[in-house]
Symmetry: C2
Subunit: 395 residues, 2 copies
């Protein structure tokens, strides 16, 4: 067995054990096509390294014969600790997972400012990691990997942030800076991409090879899964939806350009209209309440936002023809964008063929779910490092 074959065997077997939950060795051989002898060798290594463990076969799962007691293999949760964070303007949400992906702890921290110097950003999150670990009597140094989701334009494989509303400067090698200051591998990605990873790994996208996730918060984000893989574009700038243009020379966007979708559907865009067109001094909650009460100006503002959003979604369908679109966000607050008339308007603006349009589902995510997505991304990287024997054994 060459080094490359051994690596591929380890990767395939660990992935299959993870997928199965609990599985006998003989089924591993069948499902992966790897010989029984090689399965025995590799799983012995994985057991010795503490990445997997043997558990007694659950009764009924497979007929047991005589001889030695039958066992299944499973991922050993205690093998590693993995953290994930979602950083928003006002808060940080974090989760701590074990190697099985079981959530051990969570933490929500309110921030006193929205924009940070990169080093301060790293130190702030390092402190949060200390608190997160301490909440279950562990230490930051026991954590093997940390996934971080932020808004902005991120080249994830390099850990490079072209721009983020959370950072006070552009073009930051945030991954390496954080790794040096926090003392563990840090995997940074655009937050909407991490939602797509989470939907693929343990959400509504598990059974779909091609789907799009649209996230709605202060901005509009997107993650694209094509052929079961996240699509990032060639510079890491792909899957940008909020700044696609829906009107030539249209409304001014915070990005400095005109006609961006966000300039019609984001919080600030709604309030701009409410304040200047109507003279009313709304905040967002007030505007939403006024619309629910049937106030014509408020209704008009939200309805146009919905129609612009529908048009943007229709363009995505025309371009990608996905199986599924997942709208992920805080359900109650963005009801006007999730409304049935918005989805209906989208369906009217796609190319009409005699087959059903893509399914559209609304998936309410709390910030902890975003953090779980970030942790899931880090778990993939930690698993890969463990397969390659590149990490220190934290068990």
């Amino acid at each position: 067995m060459s080094g490359q074959q051994r690596l591929e065997g380890r990767r395939a077997l660990l992935a299959e054990i993870r997928r199965a939950g609990r599985i006998p060795r003989i089924d591993l051989a069948e499902r992966t096509g790897i010989s029984r002898a090689t399965v025995t060798t590799i799983t012995a290594d994985l057991l010795r390294e503490g990445l997997i463990e043997e558990v007694a076969r659950e009764s009924g799962s497979r007929a047991t014969g005589r001889g030695r007691p039958k066992v299944d293999l499973k991922i050993r949760g205690a093998a590693r600790l993995i953290a994930g964070a979602k950083v928003s303007r006002q808060s940080v949400s974090m989760v701590l997972l074990d190697f099985e992906g079981t959530q051990l702890a969570d933490l929500e921290v309110t921030l006193d400012r929205a924009v940070h110097a990169p080093e301060d950003f790293a130190d702030m999150l390092g402190g949060c990691l200390d608190r997160l670990a301490a909440s279950i009597g562990r230490q930051r140094s026991e954590i093997s990997g940390f996934g971080v989701g932020i808004a902005g334009v991120v080249d994830a494989p390099r850990g490079f942030v072209y721009w983020s509303p959370s950072l006070d400067r552009r073009n930051i090698r945030l991954g390496p800076i954080m790794r040096d200051r926090i003392g563990m591998p840090v995997h940074v990605d655009n937050d909407a991409n991490l939602v797509a990873v989470a939907e693929k790994s343990f959400g509504l996208g598990q059974d779909h090879s091609d789907f799009i996730v649209v996230t709605i918060e202060a901005g509009v984000g997107m993650g694209i899964v094509i052929g079961n893989e996240l699509y990032r574009g060639t510079r890491g700038c792909g899957a940008e939806f909020g700044h696609t243009k829906v009107h030539l020379d249209g409304a001014l966007c915070r990005c400095g350009q005109r006609g961006c979708l966000e300039a019609y559907v984001a919080d600030y865009a709604l309030l701009r209209e409410a304040t200047y067109a109507g003279g009313a001094d709304y905040d967002l909650e007030g505007l939403l309440a006024a619309a629910r009460a049937g106030e014509p100006l408020a209704l008009s503002i939200l309805q146009r936002a919905g129609r612009m959003f529908a048009m943007g979604l229709a363009n995505l369908v025309n371009i990608f023809d996905p199986e599924l679109i997942i709208l992920a966000g805080e359900q109650m607050r963005f009801d006007h964008l999730y409304a049935e008339e918005v989805i209906a308007a989208m369906r009217e603006q796609i190319v009409q063929v005699d087959r059903d349009p893509p399914e559209v589902v609304v998936h309410e995510w709390g910030d902890l779910m975003w953090a779980r997505g970030a942790a899931g991304y880090a778990l993939e990287q930690v698993s890969e490092a463990a397969v390659a024997g590149e990490d220190a054994d934290a068990a």
Copy 2:
């Protein structure tokens, strides 16, 4: 060697021989990682089947030793005949290729009508195939496969046409209908997809894994290559660009919807403006000439078309972040869309990061190049059938 291994070996070796042009057996083993013994066995089969041939080593290509004369392997052009057609409103363009991809003949036929019943469409193209084959003293029955590019929405793997401006009805199993009437496998796809296949196979996309082709004729088409593969979407309705919306409730499009990009940049859209807004009775050539002469109304019409086109392109860049965008069409006629100010306007509307924007190149295609794309698609299918031993040996 299992049947599956043998099939994969045949596929890999034929592909490598095609890529290399001429190649010694020993290099085949090195480049594919297939053992020398297996290369010998499989190439002997391919030689016996007439799919490849031996040619004397060109001097200087590799040091020759003593012993039997050194030979290279190459694809045997005479092994198969493959045809491709591009069907437009006014004409059919066709090419005939040999198994090496060398063009043996071409044909351009003017059509007396733009819309056809599916059976008439098949018979018309069957007649064209007779003429194409006869032009080099061959017969239609000697052709192994036929690729057809048409405008419209096509689910290529099924040969199913949801809608095409060339057909008098919707939802046609055009591939099977044509196969039955013409007597050979027929591979139908959207014409812009075939341009993307051609750019990938023998055009400007050969060295790029992720690029977009935008075609401009009477309509605006798109082909997307992601990870070296054509991306078709899940229903075959993907990569639709001309009917993405650039204006909410905007100009009426021929498709019946409003605000489509085509409703601002297609021929009919330009003439609609010229006729109704200015009172002038232009045809397209007249409008373009007037714009070149600096006539303000004509200039205004073309400039807005350019700005809308730039906005649509910017949206594609924001979504895909491709390495390369290829604008393919009849150069002279659509100069106003290929203009440097259009590309500059596109660059201003993409997400700004401190890395170069995607390269944009203009590739002038005649209709025969579109037909070559269709033939290239058929050549892939014929090759695969030959590898699998599924076709009658036409040699």
